[in-house]
Subunit: 382 residues, 2 copies
């Protein structure tokens, strides 16, 4: 094995773990916290709950509410301005991937200056970031665990991947109780995001034994629990999805991803569509493209989703991919690109596919994917 790195934040996991937020902030030296969240979290009452917890510990805060889905470069830059003005010392993000990625972007600019696009790619951040606590309110995005930050460059209409070890927060709090206030759609979109993370990290060219075991566990838990979590809202099933999300995130943060995420970033940036919507459309198509490069690993995935080994590894790999198609169909989500993108937009597809080739995630795909490969995949799933 080549030299591999494994880094994860300190994780506090479990029902009620949100209550530790104040103690954690104090441990990081917080006097005045910079809070980042969004309207949905506010409405569900979680932001107020967090404010009360901080108050109990005698910690002040400044709140930055300027977060939307698929956070934009200018939102990050406004946030950094507010951070600097207010003399805050610790950043806490509560929410899904959007508030957490916004907070990470703010942290980069707060201590490194410049524009957020200066940091696109791997290892471009030089100076240490302010201490950060992430409290995830979804089970999927994984930004609370990972060294990734995805920000949309509005001018270029592309989701930029910013990847660096310093983006791993100091502490990640994962409280499955928070999932109870989430819509069915959000639970599904988050879980399929985690599933795509787990599968792409497992197939990654830089996967290690430490990431592989987390990938496989996450795949098993999502395929085994998502239907139940959505149908019954059982706290046990929701907790399993949270466990899966943490495991998938430990995997992809350290093994990175592949061609499917490269394409999802490019499509998502152009059409302002979230990963959770795109994965059921793209994931199995990209797996079919990758099958020739990674039959054995695809068979490992097949054994988990099928619960058995078929005759050959190739048969098991193939049947596993088909079972995933059925799994997505059972969730009643779009499995065709034309259902989420207007027909007339097809003319942009070549440019989108050329953008996907340059995405950092494409580097770790098990085999090389050219823009023509991407275009063929888009045709297949159109």
């Amino acid at each position: 094995m080549e030299i591999t790195k494994f880094a994860v934040p300190e994780i506090i996991f479990g029902r009620g773990s949100l209550n530790y937020a104040g103690l954690c902030a104090r441990r990081l030296g917080a006097k005045k916290v910079f809070l980042v969240s969004d309207a949905g979290i506010e409405e569900a009452g979680w932001l107020q709950r967090l404010m009360n917890i901080l108050e109990k510990e005698g910690i002040e805060w400044v709140y930055y509410p300027g977060v939307t889905a698929n956070p934009r470069d200018f939102q990050v830059e406004q946030g950094a301005e507010l951070y600097r003005k207010n003399g805050t010392d610790v950043i806490i993000a509560i929410g899904g991937g959007s508030p957490i990625d916004t907070a990470k972007g703010i942290a980069i600019l707060a201590s490194n200056g410049g524009r957020i696009r200066d940091y696109e790619g791997a290892n471009k951040v030089q100076r240490a970031l302010p201490p950060m606590i992430c409290i995830t309110t979804t089970a999927g995005n994984g930004s609370d665990i990972s060294q990734f930050c995805i920000i949309t460059d509005v001018e270029r209409r592309v989701k930029m991947s910013i990847i660096t070890r310093t983006l791993i927060p100091n502490i990640s709090i994962v409280d499955p109780l928070i999932l109870r206030t989430k819509s069915k759609t959000l639970i599904i979109e988050s879980a399929v995001d985690a599933l795509a993370h787990a599968i792409e990290a497992y197939l990654s060219r830089i996967a290690s034994p430490f990431t592989e075991m987390h990938s496989l566990k996450a795949i098993e838990l999502i395929v085994g629990n998502l239907k139940d979590a959505v149908d019954t809202r059982s706290l046990d099933a929701l907790e399993q999805l949270s466990t899966a999300s943490v495991s998938a995130s430990m995997a992809f943060s350290n093994a990175s991803l592949g061609a499917e995420h490269a394409l999802a970033h490019s499509l998502g940036g152009h059409f302002d569509v979230s990963h959770g919507v795109l994965h059921p459309i793209l994931l199995t198509a990209v797996m079919r493209f990758n099958r020739k490069y990674a039959v054995q690993k695809m068979a490992d995935i097949g054994r988990i989703v099928l619960g058995e080994q078929l005759g050959s590894d190739l048969d098991t790999a193939q049947a596993g991919i088909e079972r995933l198609d059925q799994f997505f169909a059972g969730l009643e989500v779009s499995q065709r690109l034309r259902e989420v993108v207007e027909e007339e937009e097809w003319r942009y597809m070549e440019a989108i596919c050329k953008m996907a080739v340059r995405d950092a995630c494409n580097l770790t795909n098990p085999g090389p994917a050219t823009w023509r490969d991407f275009l063929k995949i888009c045709e297949e799933v159109w």
Copy 2:
């Protein structure tokens, strides 16, 4: 699941990863490093190699060589004195558990003062420690990953467990190339230590899904590779043992251990015998004692060591324990206490067992173990 925590250092793993030591030290702000090692590592040339790497990065060092097996309280206190005198800023330990635990003890005293016995138990360390890099030269002890530090109190003749999150080093470097210079005996003793960590952490009352998957992976890798690693010295097999050790350490650092380690600490402290010698004697006997509390989990272990499920979980659990007895027998190590302890020492056994009950590891044993239970186990394995 109750609230659970998972914390591990940043890990740099792989053949040649030792070469990253200088860059890592610089990243932690090192100007003058406090080096801790022992005579065996010096002789094998690894210490000089590390010094050369630091020199290349323009980093000075002070070397503290006062480390023996089962490190003593006074050695830690001498080391802390030297640390303070020399204005050093980052601690690097290279070696097995003894240099690493000595370094951790020195780090505690350097920033918290007092005597090392003041910190015995869980969460007694208040102030942050100096930045620390651990470079393990064995595949087993796991102190390079864990929040544990074991120091012998010479006066009381007991191994003190000091357990606190701040004992997790900043960076752990695991280079399987270093294992090539180790003796057969040391490879076996280290691997059975990792095996005991994995099994006890799996059965622990505070095991979580995040620790359980690491435990099971470690058990599989050790049982599958130890014989080959010892017989052939194949680098692939040695690397598998390193992977197993890291996984076992991630598990036990976060799930803690059980009655077997409690007894091994107490016996080891009294008779100055290492864990690696005691585990093949104690582990299966303690597993038999614990079987009634954890049949299902014992069956999971059984399935891995046997490679199959027998009729019932109880049968699988039982057969798994027997297979572990055979595994130890195949290593040609002592499986009787009288082979490592003088007959006349039996008179101390009651006191030793009473000490074991109070060990922090006993708290997480799947069921309660009294001093009479421990004495019965010692009689069985005598």
